[in-house]
Amino acid sequence: MWTFFHKLSSPRYFYNLSGRWLPWLAWSAAALLLIGTYWGLVVAPPDYQQGDSYRIMYIHVPSAWMSLFVYMVMACAAFIGLVWKMKLAEVIAADCAPLGASFTAMALITGMLWGKPMWGTYWVWDARLTSELILLFLYLGMIGLRGAIENPRTAARACGVLTLVGVVNIPIIHYSVIWWSTLHQGPIISRFAKPSVDPSMLWPLFIMVIAFMLYFAAVLLLRARCQILARERGSAWVRDLAART
C-alpha cells in the first residue's frame, strides 16, 4: 500500500500509470455522458409542474455538485503538497482550480437559464446562487494568484495556503449567506421546495453525476500529464520520450 504511494509520487511512474488509465476513464465518461443525456432529455417523463424545462437539471445539478467536489479534491491535494512536499499533489492541486471554476460557471449559467422560465428572472439573490458566485470568485482568485507567481513550486505552495484558508472560510461564508438570505428573502424561497423526485427522473441524474466525475478525472489526468512533462522537461526520461516520438 505505502510503496504504491511512494511510487505514485514519482512523476515518471505517475505518467506511465495515468497513460494506461486515461483511455478507460475518457471512454467510460463519454459513454455515460451519451447514455445519461439521451435518457435525461428523451426517455425521462416531463415534470408535471415544470414541463420539459426541468431537463436542464441533468447538467445543472452535476456541475453544482462538482463545483464543491473539485474544491475538496484541490484542498486534499494542497494539504498533501504543503505537508509532504509531494510534487504530484502540487500538480493536481494546480489543475483543479480552472476545472472547478468551469464547473462553477456552468452551474451558474445553467441555473440562470433555468431560473428565467421558472422564477421569471435570471438572477435571484438566493443563498445557494450567492454562495456559488462567491465560490467562483475564490476559484478565480486562486487562478490569478497562480498566474502571478512565476516559480511553479512557490506558486503551488502559496496557492496551497490560500486553498486551506478557503476550506476554513467556505462553511462560514455559506452559512452567513444562508442567514442573510433568510433575513432578506420574500416568498421566492418556497418555490425551491420541490416535490420528491421520481426514480424515472433520478436514474439519469445519477448516471450524469458519475459521468461528470469520470470526465473530471480524465481531464485532470490529461492536464496533470502535460504539466508533468513541462516541469520535468530537463530530466532524462522526458527527453527519452520526446526522442522516441
Binding site: 462567491i134 470568485f137 495556503v161 476554513v168 461564508i173 452567513s176 442567514w179
Partner: protein, 227 residues
C-alpha cells in the same frame, strides 16, 4: 522565562510600526479621507432622500469601510519587504505568528481605529437613526480587526509580486463577506429596534477565530513568499 521575551518583542515591533506611521502623517490620513470622501459621494449619486439614505446607510458605511481597509492593507508588509526588514524578522528567534500579530495590530491602530471615529458623523449625514449608532460603532470595533487579520494573509501571499494590488482585492474581498453580512444585519436590526446580541456574538466569534488562525496562515504565507 520565554514568555516575557515574546511579549516584549511584540510590544517593540508594535511601537516601531506605530512610530513609523506617525512620522509619515500624510499617508496616515489616506484611509480615513478615502472613507469620508466615498461615503459623501453616495448621496450625490443616489439623491438626498432621507428615508432611502437611512435604509442603505449600514451597508454603505460598511462597504466603504471594507474598501478603505483594502486600500491600506498593502502597508502591512510592503515597505518592510522592500527594505529587507521582513527577512530579518523571519530569521529572528521570536515566533513569526506573534510578530505578524504585532504588525496587524499596528495596522489596525493606524487604519482601522480612525474609521470608528469618522463613522459617527458620516452615519448621521446618511440619516442613520440615533439608536443604531452604538451598534454601528460596536460592529466596526469587532469587525475591522477581522478585516486587518484576513487581509494580512492576502498581503503576505502577494507581497513578493510587482502588481499585487488588484489580485489582493480578488483574494481578500470574498473572505470579507461574512463580516459584512453580520455587521450590516446588526446595524439594520438596531435601526429597526430589534435585538442585535446574536449578530454581535457571531462577530466576536469571527474575531476570535481570525485572531487565532490568521497569524499562523499569514506567517506560513510570508515564509513561502520570501524564500
Amino acid at each position: 522565562m520565554n514568555q516575557p521575551r515574546v511579549l516584549s518583542a511584540y510590544m517593540m515591533l508594535l511601537r516601531r510600526d506605530v512610530t513609523l506611521a506617525y512620522r509619515n502623517r500624510a499617508e496616515l490620513a489616506n484611509p480615513p479621507l478615502f472613507f469620508v470622501l466615498v461615503v459623501s459621494l453616495l448621496p450625490l449619486g443616489i439623491g438626498p432622500d432621507s428615508a432611502l439614505l437611512g435604509k442603505i446607510a449600514p451597508g454603505a458605511v460598511w462597504v466603504v469601510a471594507l474598501l478603505a481597509t483594502l486600500l491600506s492593507l498593502d502597508n502591512i508588509f510592503r515597505s518592510d519587504f522592500e527594505d529587507g526588514a521582513l527577512e530579518l524578522l523571519l530569521i529572528s528567534p521570536q515566533p513569526m505568528p506573534v510578530l505578524v500579530l504585532a504588525k496587524v495590530t499596528a495596522h489596525w491602530l493606524i487604519a482601522g481605529l480612525p474609521l470608528l471615529i469618522f463613522a459617527l458623523p458620516l452615519a448621521l449625514m446618511l440619516y442613520l437613526p440615533w439608536r443604531a449608532l452604538p451598534v454601528l460603532i460596536a460592529t466596526l470595533a469587532l469587525g475591522t480587526p477581522v478585516l486587518s487579520l484576513i487581509g494580512a494573509i492576502g498581503v503576505a501571499l502577494t507581497v513578493g509580486l510587482r502588481r499585487g494590488g488588484l489580485l489582493l482585492a480578488l483574494l481578500v474581498l470574498p473572505l470579507y463577506i461574512p463580516v459584512l453580512i453580520f455587521a450590516t444585519s446588526a446595524v439594520s436590526a438596531a435601526a429597526a429596534g430589534l435585538p442585535v446580541s446574536g449578530q454581535l456574538a457571531i462577530m466576536a466569534a469571527l474575531l476570535i477565530l481570525a485572531l487565532t488562525l490568521a497569524p499562523l496562515a499569514a506567517a506560513a504565507a510570508l515564509r513561502i513568499a520570501l524564500n
